[in-house]
Symmetry: C3
Subunit: 142 residues, 3 copies
């Protein structure tokens, strides 16, 4: 059993932005030389989200609309009110969207490849950018 | 350390449908002969969702209501508009519901059994059926 | 490869309550003596949720507001209606909130520490308390 760990650094460019990070994740798997095992990806941040779906521009615009409807950008949040919070970024919406949308990702590595369906991508949602972000990747296997 | 991998094939019968796949997942674990380790389940599709909760008909009807409220079936989605998308299935709602609801599942295998609580089931939500679907299952352990 | 498993018992005190369980999870990792590997946390219940974000009081009050907006406590649920369900707890909202919010958690263990970002906590959301709850934790590694 071997353990390989690496960090993916990403500079986001917009306040809210979706990026396909599948290739960067696969690159870590390739560098690990582990052929079969368990892949974990965790963002080290609380205002980005990782999820798996199709990376298509129109669909991601729709997702942006759903997020704005379910968790509006401004909605009288306590986290954005200096009486209740010392956070000065007014980013409650970003935390809340990340909480609904994001999750630590666990995927299989099979014959040195991340096991995904034909239309599946690992997608990073920047929800409070632009920022420098880091994803922690770990592979355990042989 | 051993790695066992198998695919569960499922024919869904309705456009939106919830299926309890716990037994099929347990069957893969039993076939693997791995007694303790990490179980990963990933749908290879972008319009179904996997989640863990109670498989009860009334509750799943309620979940259908919540999904329709949060992500209506028709809502002027870009993904369903031929000017913005070449997808001809008008299934934006299915992708978006899968994004909110679904996740790659990681569970423990303990003494050859999938570790779940008394009322927990692994549930597949078909969101754009009927279709032939595949779940990829991997167990790493001993 | 070693496998270590333990249960975290938690007594919740309110009907809906957020608890930071990061320390209890780290304690299991420390007891395991496993330095590198895969950590799984699964609630054994269907009306609590586990997620990862910042544990800040104002933000968690905001999350309570979002949950109430998206999945109101009373909304004519079938699960709460004795004609459709034999559940006498009227807790459909708790199942549905857990389904949207919660997930089995998979995280990396690196040099005997749970890999989390500076502001990330493992958070348990009690959605139908007060109750005695159990979290199942497993670490596979070396």
């Amino acid at each position: 059993m071997r353990v390989f760990r690496d960090t993916i650094g990403i500079r986001t460019e917009e306040n809210q932005q979706f990026l396909d990070v599948t290739k960067q994740v696969q690159d870590v798997v390739s560098r690990s030389s582990i052929r079969n095992g368990t892949l974990l990806i965790n963002s080290l941040h609380t205002t980005i989200a990782l999820f798996v779906n199709e990376f298509q521009s129109a669909l991601l615009d729709d997702l942006g609309g759903v997020l704005q409807k379910l968790v509006p950008r401004r909605d009288g949040y306590f986290h954005d009110d200096p009486r209740y919070s010392d956070c000065d970024r007014s980013n409650a919406h970003a935390h809340l969207r990340a909480t609904l949308l994001g999750r630590p990702i666990a995927l299989a590595v099979a014959d040195a490849v991340v096991l995904l369906g034909q239309y599946q991508s690992v997608i990073l949602a920047e929800l409070d950018g632009p920022r420098d972000r880091k994803l922690q990747v770990q592979i355990v296997g042989e």
